[in-house]
Amino acid sequence: MPRPHPGTLIRATLRMAAGVFVAFIIFAPLSSLVIWSFTRKWFWPHPFPQELGLFYWRKVLEGDLFRALQSGFFIAVIVTVLTLLLTIPLAYLLARYPVPFKAAILLVFLLPHAFPQLPVFVNATTLLYRAHLAASVSGVVLIHMVGALVYAVWTMTAVFRSIPASLEEAAWNLGASRVKAFFTVAMPLATPGLIASTLLVFLYSFDEFTGTLLVGSPFVLTLPVYMYRTSVGYELQVASIAALILMVPGLLLLVVLERYLKSEYLSMFGRI
């Protein structure tokens, strides 16, 4: 066996060191969350908790957190379904037909993200109060959709553009109606992109904080709002548990997203 070149050894060592460093940066803050979530008692200057236990987990799962998780999930599902129902036809039209003011339409969806979030949401809140939609689930759904639409429209337009038009023409040509061709050719081919888009929208809604707090208070409780409330009340254990739970769907969905988001979509992304 040939001896490895000393250069390769150094390079491998450096790479491993870099890996450890990156892992530390990512996981160190998370590990403190984990420790905090199992802590019963931990006072300065002790380097480790004085008393560990499941006390707070039990408390949290029996109390409001579960309610926040439920309503947050419910809102995210509604936002996702409504957004996709609106977006799929719109994105298809934008991708396939010479729609007038195409660039302007795509930019309009981007606008709420072009300004600082707080003033935009405060403004929206006053509007929703006048429409008697504030502090209700419908109000929160609406405010989430303002933010979510841009992800859905931009990704779905890119997805439909990555499907060659000739595939649908071939179907029309053989006698399929436009609707039939859409459901037998365009939609099945767009499904991976549709899944990616669904996940983006779901995650956005599930994690959204500013708009939910402003519009939903005091009645609508989602996980991020719950976490905020508990952490300002210095219940660090409860806030840590909420943060850990909040991360789970995000991580799961990102793993799935990574599988379905194809590079072809990205190459079409943002093209007008």
């Binding site: 060659p164 000739s166 595939l167 023409e169 071939a170 179907a171 029309w172 040509n173 053989l174 006698g175 399929a176 109606s177 039939k180 037998t184 050719v185 099945p188 081919l189």
Partner: protein, 361 residues
């Protein structure tokens, strides 16, 4: 089913893609539409399929005016340049798609799909049917695309540069097979290509297009041997072009003069094919029935089947093919007068009367 288009016009903004085309496609025949890219040939094919609405004129299949019909109602089937097979369906589902739309019973669908795959000679049908198009070679994919189009027994088969994505060897073989297949099924076929050799080899009738108009239509032999204008002559084969001036009795190319009795006057274009000319070492003065041009042989390439000589005549380089090598130096290029085409130097366009512009010395 014979197909006719009458005064077909299609504009994209200010660009005129089809400039009033009137032409017939004979029933049961194979017609090639030939032309350089951007000449409107694909636009014409897509207009026939109904993908692009036209701005004027009529499209008639048999006795039926189909101009206003959507693609679904035209009864055409198209073979696309990129095959346009559906990647998420098996080969079987791809081919069966059109039959299922027509509510053909499942057993008959199976029989007809197998029969048509057999017809296109795809080989190992049972195995291929279950595969996805992406797992097949380019040639096999094109056979599947052809099968998908043929299985619905279309009134008109449209082929849009179907072989241009294949490598040369597969292309040559499929060309012969498409030709044989079309003869067997006898469906009126319209075949778009930019490859003149392919058009001549595959079609009964060739329609040569340029700038949205029909330049010439006729049998492959007509088009090849009797091009009606400079564009047609130039496009069909390795041609040499020289600028000259024609007057009563003589034709001058630079300082050289050739006897001339034709009717062209003023600036003229002389065209001849590399294979029709001969290079003779030295200076030749006269020979009856031959046009002689003096020049300098600059380079010689061995092509395997013969030699290609590059001769500079009055500042312009021409190619002359021959079986014997000729050494560099002063030479005479000899072209039989009937092979030397002289056209008035006009804008290339449709020539309705061949006698008007085709002249020989």
């Amino acid at each position: 089913m014979d197909v006719r288009v009458e005064g077909l016009v299609k504009r994209y903004g200010r660009v005129v893609a089809l400039d009033g085309i009137t032409i017939g496609f004979p029933s049961g025949g194979m017609t090639a539409i030939l032309g350089p890219s951007g000449c409107g040939k694909t636009t014409l094919l897509r207009a026939l399929a109904g993908f692009n609405p036209v701005d004027g004129g009529r499209i008639v299949f048999g006795a039926e005016d189909v101009t206003g019909l959507p693609p679904q109602a035209r009864g055409t089937a198209m073979v696309f340049q990129q095959y346009a097979l559906w990647p998420h369906m098996s080969v079987f589902d791809n081919v069966a798609y059109g039959l299922r739309l027509r509510k053909v019973p499942a057993a008959e669908v199976r029989a007809r799909v197998e029969a048509v795959l057999h017809l296109v000679e795809i080989g190992q049908i049972a195995g291929v049917m279950q595969r996805r198009p992406g797992e097949l070679s380019g040639g096999q994919q094109q056979r599947v695309a052809l099968a998908r189009a043929l299985v619905v027994e279309p009134r008109v088969l449209l082929m849009d540069e179907p072989l241009s994505n294949l490598d040369a060897k597969v292309r040559q073989r499929l060309r012969a097979e498409v030709r044989r297949l079309q003869k067997r099924v006898g469906i009126t076929t319209i075949y778009v290509t930019h490859d003149q050799e392919e058009a001549l080899a595959i079609a009964d009738t060739v329609i040569l297009m340029n700038a949205g108009r029909v330049v010439q239509a006729g049998s492959p032999q007509d088009i090849y041997f009797r091009p009606e204008n400079a564009f047609a002559a130039e496009f069909l084969g390795v041609s040499n072009q020289l600028a000259g001036t024609a007057e009563a009795g003589s034709l001058s190319v630079g300082a050289q003069r050739l006897p001339y009795t034709g009717p062209v006057r003023g600036s003229a274009t002389l065209l001849f094919k590399a294979t029709d000319a001969t290079v003779i070492p030295g200076d030749l003065t006269t020979e009856s029935g031959q046009a002689l041009l003096r020049g300098t042989l600059e380079e010689r390439l061995f092509l395997g089947s013969g030699y290609r000589h590059y001769v500079r005549i009055e500042g312009e380089s021409v190619m002359v093919d021959g079986t014997e090598p000729v050494e560099a130096g002063p030479v005479t290029v000899r072209v039989p007068v009937e092979k030397l085409k002289i056209y008035a130097m006009a804008s290339p366009g449709p020539v309705t009367d061949p006698a008007r512009s085709t002249r020989t010395l």
